[in-house]
């Protein structure tokens, strides 16, 4: 059925496009290649790439075409000995990663194929791609947007979730309606309200798998599954002058999910953690943005309860996610400041964030951010205080410096039992000097002070652009005061290890090549609010991005 669908769709698109006399197209090739060099001291070992075939990588080849309202997207994906899907495994496969055909006519937008879309902020449905963790939750099916009036649109979706080169056969279907109204003339208040609905229906085969699992539970722990789960949301964006206020409330019917904190009794009487439960889920999310003169303020709040929604309840980690709950902490690019990032908790979370940006004058500006995350029963998960000051002489140089305090519940976020909370203070300075419009130097200094986990770190980096095309980088992350988790030598003494990186980047037109020698400590990698624990890495990385 899948191959037939693709064949018919391809025939349809080429028939449609070949009937046109002019075609606009674009393409790109993105490539990552890793050469793995084992380093047992830092823990870069024990995965197949360090022991057998040391070379691995990923390729994404995109082709896009458009003409008179028709558009086509094709993507070929190739994985060879890749550690992207599973950081401790090897994955090789190749095939059609994406096919999408879309057509707009009158007030209707129609698309078939592999669709990336969302309803509201994505809490009840989001199909998306996050390559750094090889998440590709495209909806394989169809979607239609109909503009009923100038103020009201309706969207319908139907399909199945993509699983690498396969399809998860559980049906996902939904509908949403969004409006747009303005009240007043001189300073109008605009509102963009919406309502959404999603249903997922399990196949008989998947239900049989769930029944197989629940059959092994004792009566007191057993819960009865249903084939369908229903989700709905109400959302609105209100805008008035410099104020923008987004609010969303989403609920999920009583659906089966795995609760790792729930206690289950084995048939032998032993109590263990983790079992499938069936509970009503809800998320409330609100974001208020204010802009007054040179001051910008963003306030966010979120309450999440039992909102784990996947294509198949038996899936875990980042597999099969249908809902996307917005993260509630800022994503920082600085190496040490992003070392302990909080992953969104979908079962129990109270989260608040406030962000202030104030531009004092042309040279000075200040950023301040505070976030606090707890479980619903008030177990502290994450607290962050961040402040930075930027001073710049336009077109000449700039210096950003600041401080971050974090309190991070490592036991919850990294599933490491019996470890203390990580309390860290990190100071940083980031200096950019422009020699001229082509040449510049960028330097970073960061120091994290903590007694927990791997202990304290010093990070230094320098990046020199010698021309528009060529730049060199060198950095080092040094474990100045090793902690409990730091590697030890044969006598059990903690090692002060330097993790260096050297690289160069070459840009030419729409092509970019980057090659780096990397030694990287184990850590959490978060992209778009989704996080996972990545093992240490040692080797050479080559990335290239070519736009056609």
């Amino acid at each position: 059925m899948y191959k037939g669908f693709v064949t018919i769709a391809l025939l349809a698109v080429f028939t449609a496009l070949s009937s046109q006399d002019k075609l606009q197209w674009s393409g790109s090739v993105d490539m990552n290649v890793n050469y793995f060099i084992e380093d047992t001291v830092i823990g870069a070992t024990d995965i197949p790439q360090y022991e057998e075939d040391h070379l691995g990588g990923e390729w994404w080849i995109n082709f896009n075409a458009a003409y008179k309202g028709y558009s086509l997207n094709l993507r070929g994906d190739i994985f060879q000995n890749s550690n992207l899907l599973n950081p401790t495994g090897s994955y090789s496969d190749a095939g059609l990663g994406r096919f999408r055909l879309a057509k707009s006519f009158n007030n209707i937008d129609l698309q078939v194929g592999y669709i990336y879309d969302q309803i509201g902020s994505g809490i009840i449905f989001r199909s998306y791609e996050e390559r750094p963790q090889l998440i590709d939750n495209a909806l394989i099916g169809g979607a239609i947007d109909v503009g009923l009036t100038d103020y009201l649109t309706v969207k319908g979706i139907y399909g199945y979730q993509k699983e690498q080169f396969d399809i998860n056969r559980n049906v996902i279907r939904g509908v949403s309606m969004e409006g747009f109204w303005e009240l007043g003339k001189d300073n109008p208040v605009s509102i963009v309200p919406g309502i959404g609905y999603i249903n997922r229906q399990l196949t008989d085969e998947n239900m049989a798998g769930i029944v197989d699992v629940l059959r092994t539970y004792i009566d007191e722990d057993r819960t009865l599954p249903r084939f369908n789960v229903y989700l709905g949301n109400l959302f609105n964006t209100l805008t008035y002058k410099g104020i923008s206020w987004y609010t969303e409330w989403a609920i999920k019917s009583r659906e089966l999910f795995f609760d790792p904190q729930a206690i289950r009794t084995e048939i032998t009487g032993r109590k263990v953690f983790g079992k499938y439960v069936k509970r009503l889920g809800s998320v409330f999310y609100s974001s208020l943005g204010l802009s007054v003169g040179n001051l910008g303020i963003t306030l966010e709040g979120k309450r999440t309860s039992n909102f784990n929604f996947r294509t198949n309840p038996l899936y875990r980690q980042n597999i099969g996610l249908v809902s996307f709950i917005p993260p509630m902490a800022q994503e920082l690019s600085y190496r040490l400041l992003s070392r302990y990032s909080p992953a969104t908790q979908d079962l129990s979370e109270w989260a608040f964030q406030a962000d202030f940006k104030y531009k004092i004058d042309k040279r000075w500006s200040v950023d301040f951010n505070i976030s606090d995350i707890q479980t619903l029963d008030q177990t502290p998960l994450y607290t962050e205080l961040y402040m930075s000051v930027l001073y710049k002489i336009p077109r000449k140089w700039q210096l950003r410096t600041g401080l971050q305090f974090i309190d991070y519940n490592q036991e919850v976020y990294q599933l490491k039992p019996l470890v203390p909370r990580v309390r860290a203070v990190t100071g940083f300075a980031d200096f950019l000097y422009r020699f001229n419009s082509k040449r510049n130097i960028k330097m970073e200094l960061q120091y994290m002070d903590t007694e927990q986990d791997f202990g304290s770190w010093l990070f230094l980096s320098s990046e020199i652009a010698v021309s528009r095309r060529l730049s060199f980088e060198a950095s080092g992350m040094y474990n100045t005061d090793p902690g409990k988790e730091s590697p030890v030598d044969s006598d059990g003494n903690k090692l002060k290890i330097l993790y260096p990186t050297f690289g160069l980047t070459y840009n030419h037109g729409s092509m970019r090549y980057n090659v780096r020698y990397v030694k990287q400590v184990e850590g959490i990698v978060c992209t778009g609010g989704i996080c996972r624990l990545e093992p240490a890495f040692s080797g050479i990385r080559l990335t290239s991005n070519i736009r056609l």
Binding site: D46, I47, P48, N86, T88, G89, S90, M177, I195, Y197, N199, E205, M207, A208, G209, I210, V211, D212, V213, L214, R215, T216, R222, L224, P225, R226, F227, N228, V229, Y230, L231, G232, I251, S253, R254, F258, E266, I267, T268, R270, V272, F273, G274, Y276, L314, R316, L415, K416, P417, L418
Partner: protein
């Protein structure tokens, strides 16, 4: 709009759909036995729960399910409170043999992968273990395996007999030496269990990891015998021979386990 909201609320409640009834647990009655190689470690916080799951399965199916706990290299460094080191060169070798695996605990059930379940042979999803074991217990009973172990001054003499119920091809035999009732600390999800009882701990494998080939073909009704002596020098002082037993199993041409049996050393 009101109708849409009412309809949506009705759907959300999910009242219209009946819940799926869970059928009662049925215990298979064939003579088939199943081997579970449990990749575990004293620093693995989820391993007590995996172990409890396997104990539970054994309480239902008795000796039809044989478990071997493999303390290889991953998450197995002795804890500061540990008195015993549960690792052994054989366990490390066996864990290497099953790499890559996603994490611990992972269970290798009859050395096979199963359609509709986790795709790798070492399966980290505990909830799938019992359904897979039950599926294996319902597979055809291809052979009977009789194992006998006796200790003397030379070592442990292991004698086995394979009786073919179906025609068997490319048969290899595997012998493991395991120890029960080792009380030593174990990490759990929320605490350190100081008096945790470790059972089926793999101590030594005298046969090759891939097994010792013993017959290309065994006709129905034929008996094939195999004997070996585990040299006394291989037994370490810290092992308690009273708590040790032999796990013996046979694999077929594709490496899957056909039958497994245990035998106490001191009967």
């Amino acid at each position: 709009m009101r109708k849409i909201l009412v309809g949506l609320l009705i759907c959300m409640l999910g009242c219209a759909e009946k819940e799926v009834i869970i059928p009662p647990l049925e215990i298979p009655t064939t003579g088939r036995t199943v081997l579970v190689e449990d990749l575990t470690g004293v620093r693995c916080p989820n391993c007590p729960s995996g172990n409890a799951r396997l104990e539970s399965v054994q309480s239902i199916y008795g000796k039809n399910v044989v478990v071997v706990s493999v303390h290889g290299e991953f998450l197995t460094d002795p804890l500061p409170e540990s008195e015993a080191d549960l690792r052994s060169p054989s366990a490390i070798l066996l864990e290497e043999f099953w790499r890559p695996f996603l994490g611990k605990p992972s269970a290798v059930i009859d050395r096979k992968s199963y359609d509709g379940f986790f795709s790798m042979v070492p399966n980290p999803l505990q909830d799938q273990w019992q359904p897979i074991i039950e599926r294996e217990l319902q597979e055809p009973h291809m052979a009977d395996l009789v194992v006998d172990a006796t200790l003397d001054n030379q070592g442990i003499l292991v004698s086995t007999g394979i009786i073919a119920i179906e025609e068997l091809q490319d048969i290899s035999i595997h012998i493991f030496l395991v120890e029960n009732s080792i009380v030593d600390p174990q990490e759990d999800v929320d605490k350190l269990i100081l008096d945790y009882e470790h059972n089926h701990v793999l101590r030594y494998i005298p046969t090759p990891i891939e097994g010792d080939p013993i017959a290309e073909n065994i006709e129905i009704g034929d008996i094939s015998n195999y004997t070996m002596t585990i040299d006394i020098a291989e037994l370490r002082e810290e092992w308690n021979i009273e708590n040790m037993e032999i796990v013996c199993f046979i694999t077929g041409e594709e490496g899957g386990v056909i039958q497994v049996q245990t035998a106490s050393i001191l009967q």
